[in-house]
Amino acid sequence: MRGLLPSIALGALMALLALAVVFWLGTDADASPAERAERLGAQLRCPDCQGLSIADSPTRSAQEIRRQVSELIADGASDEEIRAHFVARYGEWILLAPSSPAWWVLPFAVVLLAAAALVAWIVRRSGGATAASPPALSADERRRLHEEAEALDA
C-alpha cells in the first residue's frame, strides 16, 4: 500500500504541471483581434443553450454576444474587461471556466486529501490487524486439535 504513495504524488504533480501549461498557453498577449475574439468566444457561455460556448452556438444571442466581443476588442478593451462586461450582466455563470484559478485547484485538493485519508486509514487498519493476530495455541489445545484431526481421519 505504501508503494502507491509516490505514484499518487507523481500523478498529482503532473496534473498541476499540465494546468500550469494550460494557463501559460492561455495568456499570450500577441494574438490578433480575430484570435482573441475566438478565444474569448470559447470562454463565454451561450445564454440560451445547454452548456455550449457562444463560439459553438448559432443562436441569435450567441451571434449578438460574438458581435459585441468583436466590437469591444475593436474599441481596445482587454480580455479581462470584455469578460467583466458580460459578468456584469449574467454573473460568473456566463464564464464557462471559473475566473479564479483557486476554483480549479479546489477539487484536485479535495480528491488528493480524501485519497491521503483513505491510504492513511488502510495503512493504519492493516497495521492494527497484524498487531492483534490471534494468540498462540497452548500445548493442551494443540494436543486436543491433533487428536480430533486424527479421529476424523480414522
Partner: protein
Amino acid sequence: MRHLRWLVVPLLVIPLGWLLFSGFGRDPREIASPLIDRPAPEWTLTTLDGETLSSSDLAGRPYVVNFWASWCGPCVDEHAVLSATHDAYGDEIAMVGVLYQDLPADAQAFLARYGQTGYRHVIDPDGRLAIDFGVTGPPETYFIDADGILRAKQFGPLTESSMDQKLASILPAVGALDR
C-alpha cells in the same frame, strides 16, 4: 478512532447527499442577477405600433420589463397575470413587454389571440437589451423602482403571488400596505 467512524455519516454523507440532490432539482439557467440593487439598463427601442419608447419615458415611477415571445408556452400562462396587474395598478406602475427573438407579426397574432395588454411592447431586433438584462430565455421579468434601480427578477412565468411579492419590492411602502 473507531467510534469516530459513525460521525462520517452525519458530517459527510448527509451534507453531500443533500448538495447533490438539491443540485438536480435546480434549473441551471436560473441565475441570481448581478444587476439586483444596481441601476437598470437604459434603452430606446421601437414599439409594435412603430413609436419610439425609451427607458427614460418610464422613469419616475416603478416599472416592470417583461421579456416574452409568441413561441414561448409559459408566456401564455403569465399573460393574464400581466394584463390583470396592468388593469389593477393603472398609471401607478409602468409596464413594457420586450419581444425576445420573435417576429413582430407573430407577436401581434399572439396578442390578438390571448388579449391586448393595455401596455406597450418593444422590438429588440438583435437581442441587445436581453443581453444587457442578462436574459437566458423567456419569460423573464425585471422589476425596477422609481429611482431606476433594479430590485427583483422573475425567472419563468409569473403567478399572482410571485407578481405581488416582486411588486412589493418596487412599490412605495405605503402603496403596498394600501392594497
